[in-house]
């Protein structure tokens, strides 16, 4: 029984960190919240797993923790120093309003997952809505923020949401695919980082809002 309790706490952790991401404007704070989310995320499969912990699951959790908890935030911190941009100045959607929007999205996620009438498996009762919710927060961050770096963080939150959903099925998912997913996410962020460096050196700003010259 206590498994699901622990899992519920960690999932709640993810949902709260999402709200934190929506609220804060400082980039460094955002990256720290990302780390917390990564930690709670990698803990969930262990919490959900049946008593006999297969070695494969532990290895998976450790690698996720390493990639999402340590390497990616370090990359992002280096990018922040390089482009020495501290804060997200007046985004499209003000912070208070983003939180309100976050709550509405949460409600919408519960409504959708309720509609999905998943089978008796209890875990999916709160797992699906939170996965959908972090997906939507990721999208919201990308849509409502100006700085390219914040958009990368938004993308990572989306990735975590999808990963969270995968976590419930982590037991069956072949290891190779999980590794592939992690590798791809890492390389994606890596290349986004390089592009941001280039944009910064070319434009000496990373306001995606001003990056809108190509249009019809």
């Amino acid at each position: 029984m206590n498994h699901t309790l622990w899992a519920e706490i960690f999932v709640l952790g993810v949902v709260l960190t999402n709200f934190r991401l929506l609220a804060s404007s400082r980039l460094l704070v955002l990256i720290n919240t990302m780390q917390i989310q990564a930690i709670s995320l990698s803990a969930i499969p262990i919490a959900l797993a049946p008593s006999a912990l297969p070695f494969r699951l532990v290895l998976l959790a450790m690698i996720t923790l390493a990639v999402k908890g340590w390497i990616l935030p370090r990359l992002l911190k280096r990018a922040v120093q390089k482009t020495n941009i501290q804060r997200e100045i007046e985004p499209f959607v003000r912070y208070e309003f983003s939180i309100l929007l976050g709550i509405i999205l949460l409600g919408l996620c519960f409504y959708i997952s309720h509609r999905f009438k998943t089978d008796a498996n209890l875990t999916s009762h709160f797992l699906l809505p939170s996965a959908l919710f972090s997906l939507m927060t990721g999208l919201l961050i990308i849509v409502s923020r100006r700085k390219a770096l914040t958009q990368v963080i938004g993308y990572l939150t989306m990735e975590n949401g999808v990963y969270l959903f995968g976590a419930a099925l982590a037991i069956e998912e072949p290891l190779l695919v999980e590794m592939g997913v992690l590798l791809d996410v890492f390389v994606a962020v890596f290349i986004m980082g390089i592009t941001i460096y280039q944009i910064n050196s070319e434009f000496d700003h990373i306001d995606t809002d001003r990056l809108s010259e190509l249009k019809d």
Binding site: F92, L108, I112, R115, F116, M136, L139, I142, V143, S144, R145, Q151, T208, D209, L211, S212, E213, L214, K215, D216
Partner: protein, 661 residues
């Protein structure tokens, strides 16, 4: 043996044309090579066609061709044979003419390519007329449109020529799209689009839909009224020998298509005949009405092609009404009249276009109001043009009258036949009135054209020094003029050529057919003969009388004006002004008047201009509207990343909420 010659002729034209393009870009050899290939192809296709017409047999040829739904099946029955003869003869004559005409462009235009597309056009027209498979038909159809597009774009430096090419390209593509829909619907579930395997549509509603599609598809090429917009722009843009081929023969492939498809749609209904009749009336009357105020000779002739297509449609309309109300005589009269008018029109229209080419060659302008008095400097061309002009107005001793006479007779028999219903009689009257009006208007238009261009005093410098065309140019015109007179006089003989085609379309007992139609035309040639005897007699009397009297030349009597000059003559627009004024609500002529005057008027500029009604009130607003709507919608792509991701998020949410139940 016959089919191979037909196939060989098409092959010669295609291969000859293409290698002509690469071989010789310089003027002389390119032109002669092109003409030689064209003449060879024409010869090889006329002989079997005449044989088929004479014997009335149908020959077909099947070749494997692994294209989905496609098979290379071609066949030539009397109807195709008739069209093959028209196409080959007109193309050959225009090729001979073209060599002389294109001499002026030798310097800066690539002759090889021009002749290559000319031969490709000829080959694709032959293929269209012989194709018996949907895919092959559309391939040949587009091939025809493409090669004529490149010929229209011959002088593509001028922006209006490019505009004409663009409009022509769209009309051709619209036609091809409708044909694609037509053939696919006609084939039904059958995997192959062969004509002989196409069954007639199940429900009359389906047959009606197919009929409308056929009208749209073939009408776009033939130039039925609302779809004619490209014709008055494309034909003047093309070199004259090409516009002669396009106007004379290419738009007839549209009529051929209709004739080929309608019997496949099962028994026709009365409203089909009515549609064709209404199209014929509108195309006819409006075509000649819009021709009247034109200043450019080739634009005027292009509008006249629309008018003559209208007359052909009247004939076909009577044919459908005749079959619908199963009154075979009217059907036969309408169909024979229509088919004969197809032949006649391709002869005198190409004659007139070649004449226009000579005028352009000699005076470098086609603006009617700049010409005048060319009769004295170009007597031979003037005579040819006169014969063409008189026959296009359908005046008796020439060939235009013969086909209109048959259509008239169809109308009158429809009207005078007591058994026909009110519907049919109304249709008959409409046909008669429109034919009469078209005849009158055409006479007005062509008296204006011939009178202003060839007679009176020359109105401009270039008209004054015009020189007679070289024999290479007026000799083909002489052949065409001879055809006009020959068909006019010996009408019953020429009917024998058209009757097998009529019989293949309308299964009418042969004996009765010749018995009924033949005697109708023999009195006409008799009376024409009598007319010629009278003319000879009166000329002799005149010569005898005048020989004894003094003949003096002096200035024209102008009520005592001191110095009448050429500009005081009647111009084209003033000649046509009363008639245009009568129809001003349709034509909407625009007058531009500008006068510089301080005390006395120094200089006055006055010009009238009429725009094509359908172009200005139907197509231009439609295109402008869609352009503004599209440009307004371009705002969707503003360039901001966040917006694009918002689109994706909204799509996902919407789909999840709406579709997953």
């Amino acid at each position: 043996m016959m089919t191979d010659t037909l196939l060989i002729s098409v092959a010669i034209l295609v291969l000859g044309g293409i290698c002509g393009a690469f071989l010789s870009s310089s003027g002389r050899q390119g032109a002669f090579w092109g003409m030689a290939v064209c003449l060879a192809g024409a010869l090889l296709s006329i002989i079997p066609a005449v044989n088929i017409l004479w014997t009335g047999r149908t020959i077909s040829y099947q070749l494997g061709w692994s294209i989905p739904f496609g098979s290379f099946t071609i066949a030539a029955d009397p109807l195709s044979a008739l069209f093959i003869i028209i196409i080959s003869s007109v193309c050959a004559i225009c090729a001979v003419y073209g060599v002389g005409y294109l001499k002026a462009y030798e310097g800066y235009k690539n002759m090889g390519v021009a002749w290559c597309f000319y031969n490709l056009l000829f080959a694709s027209m032959l293929l269209v007329v012989m194709a018996r498979n949907g895919v092959l038909f559309i391939m040949a159809w587009e091939g025809m449109s493409l090669s004529s597009f490149f010929l229209v774009m011959f002088e593509h430096e001028k922006p209006e020529v490019r505009q004409a090419g663009w409009t022509y390209m769209i009309a051709a593509h619209f036609g091809a799209a409708c044909l694609m829909a037509l053939f696919v619907l006609l084939a039904g579930s059958d995997i192959n689009l062969d004509f002989n395997r196409m069954s007639s549509p199940s429900s009359p509603f389906m047959a009606g839909v197919l009929f409308i599609l056929a009208i749209l598809g073939f009408g776009a090429k033939a130039g039925f009224m609302p779809l004619h917009v490209w014709l008055p722009e494309a034909h003047p843009a093309a070199p004259s020998h090409v516009s002669a081929v396009m106007s004379g023969v290419m738009i007839k492939t549209g009529i051929y298509g209709l004739l080929r498809i309608i019997p496949m749609l099962g028994p026709p209904e009365l409203w089909w005949g009515w549609t064709l009749l209404i199209i014929g009336t509108t195309s006819g009357i409006l075509g000649v009405l819009f021709a009247l105020p034109q200043h450019d000779l080739k634009r005027l002739l292009a509008y006249h092609s629309i008018e003559n297509i209208g007359i052909i449609c009247l004939g076909l309309g009577l044919w459908l009404i005749g079959t619908a109300t199963n009154y075979p005589l009217i059907a036969v009269l309408g169909l024979t009249g229509g088919l004969l008018h197809v032949c006649n029109h391709s002869i005198f229209k190409s004659l007139l276009f070649l004449g226009a080419g000579v005028i352009k060659h000699a005076t470098h302008t086609l603006d009617i109001d700049r010409l005048g008095g060319l009769q004295k400097s170009m007597p031979k061309t003037a005579l040819m043009f006169l014969i063409g002009a008189v026959s296009i107005c359908g005046i008796p001793p020439f060939n235009g009258f013969v086909s209109e006479f048959l259509i008239y007779l169809g109308g009158y028999t429809l009207v005078s036949n007591t058994a026909s219903s009110g519907h049919a009689i109304a249709a008959g009257v409409i046909a008669l009135i429109s034919l009469a009006l078209i005849g009158g208007l055409a006479a007005t238009c062509f008296t204006k054209v011939f009178g202003i261009i060839f007679l009176g005093a020359p109105r401009s410098e270039s008209a004054a020094q015009a020189a007679e065309a070289s024999p290479g140019m007026w000799f083909p015109m002489a052949i065409l003029a001879a055809f006009c007179i020959m068909i006019g006089i010996a009408a019953p003989l020429c009917i024998r050529m058209v009757l097998p085609a009529v019989r293949s379309l309308h299964h009418f007992p042969a004996a009765e057919l010749t018995a009924k139609v033949f005697p109708l035309l023999s009195p006409i040639s008799l009376v024409a003969g009598i007319l010629f005897c009278f003319i000879i007699a009166v000329t002799l009397v005149r010569r005898w009388l005048i020989s004894r009297q003094p003949v003096v030349t002096g200035p024209t009597w102008d009520c005592g004006y001191i110095a009448p000059n050429a500009r005081m003559q009647y111009t084209a627009s003033s000649f046509a002004q009363p008639v245009i004024d009568m129809f001003r609500y349709i034509l909407r002529p625009q007058r531009h008047f500008h006068m510089e005057a301080d005390d006395f008027p120094k200089q006055i500029r006055f010009s009238t201009h009429t725009f094509d009604l359908f172009r200005t009130c139907l197509f231009e607003p439609l295109f402008r509207l869609s352009d503004t709507a599209a440009v307004w919608l371009h705002r969707l792509q503003q360039g901001r990343n966040q917006l694009y991701i918002l689109y994706i998020a909204i799509t996902v949410m919407a789909l999840l909420v709406l579709t997953v139940r």
